[in-house]
């Protein structure tokens, strides 16, 4: 078994891992990323949506998750298994953080965290287009809503620049973000953080699946990580083509940044005698939360629109901050999302009847598609009944590791908001000219999953401290959405970036904030 050493090993090169790793590498640390998916360069830009789709659903392809059926359907893991993580997918949405994000049980206030918020806005080029410059599609919706729509904040380059030896083009405002940025102007972990990390000699090891953190006997210190170096393109179960080599890497410090689904599982896989690592609080894998929603698909009864050419917009005026429980968004969707959504909302026989001519007609409607997926905020006081835990029946994945078993149910208030939001969205869609006979509602789904390793100052009910360090383990940090201690409001990527900067300062004993 081969072994190597780094100052810091980071599991996962997504929003939390890449951002943190870049800061540590800049400070002189030898950083190694163990990334389960492919490596990508900055020019990826996802013009080829196959790549997005394959990587975004890769964890499901790998069969590494056991999906609890929710209302008869599977829900997605929302994991980007690639360099840049989930931030590589979709439209670069980077909703700004607001004071409403930091109500208890968040352990600090907006004002206390504001330096990192401002830093994130600057580094990730967060911007919101003025309403008068929104797309045609957005203006149609805005008219239908009686005004009040605003562009969703996103991360993109408004001016070209060169940084860390990489040229970043500017946004051309083609508004086809959802189909992948053709100009490489999207600001995300792949385009912003990883070039900086590479510039400072960080090493990204792709296709490395972490099996276990190896600790000392009392599980107070991580000594090494055991991981599987997989074939370049990964593998699809059943094909029998996967070539893996088990390796070990040692380090002084370790960071889990594998996301809110995998980070708790790695801690469970790394336990001893049935006790998960860093779990004296019993909170590892608990308190899973996210945004529930029911999508509504419609087709505008007009020919002068191309709805994939649209800003992602949301209704302001009391909704933007979830004051009424939900964020009313109107989405652009990529073809796979559209087609996948159609399958989700249709019964089997209806689907079969789609084969042939109906499918051609369905595809032609893509240009006129209008979609809303209003996000419902988590309604709890910091603790939920939802979780991602080792499968109770002992099911294992192909690496003989316990499968994650996910349970996710909206509570009564969340379920009500889901229905309220859907009806509100339908009202606006109809006013915008959607064909009333062609409105389809999806089942309840959930995105932006966070929680599962909540942070806090009390070790009896939290996994990490406020600086991201695990209470129970001297040299282990967590840098991803699993640290969220309470309800989240809008898109979580922004806060994950900001938390990563905070963790970097904590690990480096720097003054706050990062200069």
């Amino acid at each position: 078994m081969k072994s190597e050493h780094a100052d810091v090993v980071i599991v996962g090169a997504g929003a939390g891992g890449a951002t943190l790793g870049a800061e540590l590498a800049e400070a002189g640390a030898k950083v190694v990323f163990l990334e389960a998916g492919k490596d990508l360069d900055i020019t990826y830009g996802s013009p080829d949506h196959f790549a997005d789709s394959q990587m975004f659903f890769k964890t499901q392809q790998d069969g590494l998750f056991w999906h609890e059926q929710y209302t008869g359907r599977n829900w997605r893991t929302d994991m980007g298994e690639c360099a840049g993580g989930g931030t590589t997918a979709y439209a670069g949405v980077l909703e700004e953080s607001t004071p409403r994000d930091y109500i208890p049980p968040w352990p600090f206030s907006y004002e206390e965290f504001e330096p990192y918020i401002e830093l994130t806005k600057k580094r990730y080029h967060v911007y919101r287009w003025p309403v008068e410059e929104l797309s045609h599609y957005a203006q149609i919706l805005n008219d239908a809503a009686g005004g009040g729509l605003v562009a969703t904040a996103s991360g993109f380059n408004r001016e070209p620049y060169v940084e860390y030896g990489v040229y970043h083009d500017r946004c051309r405002r083609c508004r086809c973000c959802i189909l992948g940025c053709r100009y490489n102007a999207k600001a995300n972990a792949l385009t912003i953080a990883l070039p900086k990390a590479r510039f400072h000699k960080a090493e990204i090891k792709p296709n490395c699946f972490v099996k276990k953190l190896n600790t000392n006997a009392d599980m107070t210190k991580v000594e090494s990580i055991t991981y599987l170096q997989r074939t370049q393109n990964g593998a699809i179960p059943g094909d029998g083509i996967e070539d893996i080599e088990e390796k070990t890497i040692t380090a002084d410090k370790f960071v889990l940044a594998a996301g809110s689904m995998m980070t708790p599982m790695i801690l469970h896989w790394s336990g001893q005698n049935g006790v998960a690592l860093a779990n004296s609080s019993g909170q590892v894998g608990k308190n899973l939360r996210g945004h529930f929603f029911r999508a509504t698909y419609g087709v505008l009864d007009r020919q002068d629109v191309r709805t994939y050419q649209g800003n992602l917009v949301e209704l302001n005026d009391g909704y933007q901050n979830f004051d009424k429980g939900y964020l009313l968004e109107f989405n652009m969707v990529a073809p796979p999302t559209y087609m996948g959504g159609m399958v989700e909302v249709m019964q089997t026989q209806d689907l079969v009847n789609m084969i042939g001519l109906p499918f051609k007609k369905l595809m032609r409607d893509y240009s006129r598609l209008v979609v809303s997926a209003p996000l419902v905020r988590s309604y709890d006081e910091g603790f939920t009944e939802n979780s991602v835990l080792p499968h109770p029946d002992g099911k294992t994945n192909r690496y003989d590791l316990p499968l994650p078993h996910v349970t996710f149910e909206p509570n009564e208030q969340e379920a009500k908001w889901v229905e309220d939001a859907m009806e509100h969205a339908k009202t606006i869609m109809l006013k915008a000219g959607a064909d009333p006979d062609r409105l389809l509602n999806g089942g309840v789904d959930v995105v932006h999953k966070v929680g599962t390793c909540r942070m806090g100052s009390d070790p009896t009910n939290s996994v990490t401290d406020l600086g991201g360090k695990c209470h129970d383990v001297d040299n282990l940090w967590i840098s991803d959405g699993s640290r969220f201690p309470g309800p989240l409001l809008a898109n979580c990527a922004f806060i994950i970036y900001a938390l990563a900067y905070q963790i970097a300062d904590s690990m480096l004993d720097r003054d706050i904030p990062t200069k």
């Binding site: 013009p47 080829d48 949506h49 196959f50 790549a51 789709s53 394959q54 659903f57 890769k58 499901q60 392809q61 069969g63 599977n74 008068e132 410059e133 797309s135 045609h136 203006q139 051309r172 405002r173 083609c174 508004r175 086809c176 189909l179 992948g180 699809i236 059943g238 020919q303 002068d304 629109v305 191309r306 050419q309 073809p335 796979p336 999302t337 559209y338 087609m339 996948g340 159609m342 399958v343 989700e344 089997t348 026989q349 689907l351 079969v352 009847n353 789609m354 084969i355 042939g356 001519l357 499918f359 051609k360 007609k361 369905l362 595809m363 032609r364 893509y366 240009s367």
Partner: protein, 203 residues
């Protein structure tokens, strides 16, 4: 994403999900492979000739739309040639055997002897039986369904495409740049979105 890729990825997503493949698994894999091949060989004409059953299946899956003047069926766009190219001789033979098996069950005859309705019924029966299919067969069918859509909107002459695109509202023949019809006339972003249609790509 150009029209071809759009068509393929949409088809892959739809049929992959329809077949119950987790994460639209191999539908995407096959679609991705097809796109890569087609980038260097847009027509796929150097592959094997399509077997008659493959051509028939493609035309059931991609019939001409009577509501669209100038619309074509799948083989008019060389969709069958692309399927043959992607599947290869062995894959074609396997697909034909598969089609015949279900045609016998649903219509008591081989697939090639069925009429269009019976052929459609055969493919629908296969999809309905997805839970009983071997993984390879599901993948094969997903591939066939997906690949059938390749070229649906591009493998024609420029003149033929213009008729089709204009009928579909996708193209303004008076636009000298050969771009999509600008959909936002009168709005602030009316001039921002010239997406090249790859007009005359194959010429």
């Amino acid at each position: 994403m150009n029209r071809r890729e759009f068509v393929i990825v949409s088809s892959a997503a739809f049929f992959g999900a329809m077949m119950g493949l987790p994460g639209e698994r191999n539908g995407f894999a096959m679609a991705s492979e097809a796109v890569q091949r087609l980038k260097s060989n847009p027509l796929g004409l150097d592959g094997p000739d399509p077997l008659p059953e493959i051509t028939a299946a493609v035309n059931v899956l991609v019939p001409a739309d009577p509501d669209i003047p100038g619309d074509f069926k799948g083989s008019d766009y060389n969709g069958d040639r692309v399927v043959a190219y992607v599947l290869g001789d062995m894959g074609q033979a396997s697909a034909v055997g598969f089609l015949n098996k279900y045609a016998q069950e649903t219509a008591s005859k081989d697939f090639i002897d069925c009429n269009d309705d019976e052929r459609l019924g055969t493919i629908q029966a296969i999809v309905l039986a997805r839970a009983e299919l071997e993984g390879d067969m599901r993948d094969l069918l997903t591939g066939l369904l997906t690949m059938s859509m390749i070229g649906t909107f591009e493998n024609n002459s420029s003149e033929e495409n213009e008729v089709l695109f204009e009928s579909m509202g996708w193209y303004d023949p008076n636009d000298p740049a050969g771009t999509f019809r600008i959909p936002n006339e009168g709005y602030v972003d009316a001039q921002i979105f010239p997406v090249t249609l790859k007009k005359g790509l194959l010429k």
